[in-house]
């Protein structure tokens, strides 16, 4: 019986903390109060404080992680809707997102090595601009550290949510579709959630860019990242 009780407790605890964090963000609208970041901080402090090992927690936590794969499949629905909307411009969008994604993987690995990170960390950071479930799978496939990958994805997303719009203005990217594509490619879902407040057109292009860049990363990263590492080290 207790074999099931503790995992169930951790499973429910994760959901409860997350719901509380979502509630908190609705009350106080501040981009730093990202529910995932808050939930992570609370759980990490709690487990460390009580000395509970990760394996014990993950006995219940994996019930949530297991839903990641079906949730990636579910992204097929928004993908279909956006492609229908944007059909005519799809080749241009695809070209730009593909180039930007190759650049994203390359620049991230090179930057990480330049600022002194080890290869394992560079690998874990590579898909940082990709939406979390896909980024985590990419990191797992390349045998990096998934939790570091997840952290890099949140940091990147928060950056987009907080500084993305001022950055786009500073860079002189004023055309709405381009703003959406820049945000979706660089800062995935968190950036998309912010830019959609500026306008529906930005939002649609951002969402399309986020799905496309995730797909391209998933296919290219396992081939490209080891090559870059070999070349740079």
């Amino acid at each position: 019986m207790s074999d099931l009780m503790m995992p169930l407790f951790y499973f429910l605890l994760t959901i409860l903390v997350y719901l509380a964090a979502v509630h908190l963000q609705r009350r106080i609208e501040h981009p730093l109060l990202n529910p995932v970041l808050i939930t992570l901080l609370v759980l990490v402090c709690l487990l460390l404080g009580l000395g509970i090992p990760y394996v014990d927690y993950q006995a219940g936590g994996h019930w949530l992680s297991d839903l990641l794969a079906p949730s990636v499949v579910a992204l097929g629905v928004p993908l279909y809707k956006q492609i229908k909307q944007i059909k005519r411009e799809l080749p241009g969008v695809l070209l730009v997102v593909a180039l930007a994604t190759i650049f994203a993987l390359t620049s991230t690995v090179v930057l990480a090595i330049l600022v002194g990170a080890e290869a394992e960390i560079a690998i874990s950071l590579a898909p940082k601009s990709v939406t979390t479930p896909i980024a985590v799978m990419i990191v797992e496939q390349m045998q990096g550290e998934p939790s570091l990958g997840a952290l890099a994805v949140i940091v990147t997303g928060l950056l987009g949510a907080i500084a993305g719009i001022p950055l786009l203005n500073l860079m002189g990217i004023r055309e709405p579709k381009s703003r959406g594509i820049a945000m979706g490619t660089a800062c995935h879902a968190l950036g998309t959630a912010r830019i959609v407040q500026e306008g529906g057109e930005q939002g649609a292009y951002s969402a399309l860019a986020l799905v496309l860049s995730a797909t391209i990363s998933a296919i290219l990263a396992p081939i490209l990242v080891p090559l870059i590492l070999q070349w740079i080290i």
């Binding site: 995932v36 927690y57 936590g61 579910a74 930057l111």
Partner: protein
């Protein structure tokens, strides 16, 4: 909620789950037969989009469950993030490198994607 509408509600979730699992299964088969080169869930996603655009699957068969999963996606990866507690040393040693990479990388990627598409739009 009336009884028939409740039934429709439940049916829409049941059909969503079945379709999502079917697509995932197809994706994982593709992953298996490609020797792990193709990512299963991504193939499943593209397969679902394909079924929708061919009209083989209707949007309302799958929308309820898909929207539910997408709405809760952020929660789903919390347990993986909690894995940081097993990697505190790694994190402490490279926190500055991680933050710098994310910061600089994001600015560069955003600039490139935005400028490229803007240039393309102006040419047309």
């Amino acid at each position: 909620m009336t009884f028939p509408s409740l039934c429709r509600h439940i049916a829409s979730y049941v059909s969503s789950v079945l379709i999502l699992l079917l697509c995932l299964f197809v994706g994982q088969l593709a992953a298996k037969y490609s020797g792990g080169v193709l990512p299963g869930s991504i193939v499943g996603m593209i397969f679902l989009a394909l079924l929708l655009s061919l009209g083989l699957v209707k949007l309302h068969w799958v929308e309820a469950g898909a929207n539910f999963l997408i709405r809760w996606m952020a929660l789903l990866f919390v347990p993986i993030g909690v894995g940081l507690i097993d990697n505190l040393e790694l994190l402490a040693n490279s926190l500055v490198a991680i933050l710098l990479t994310c910061l600089l990388g994001t600015v560069l990627i955003m600039a490139l994607a935005g400028w490229l598409f803007q240039a393309l739009e102006r040419r047309q």
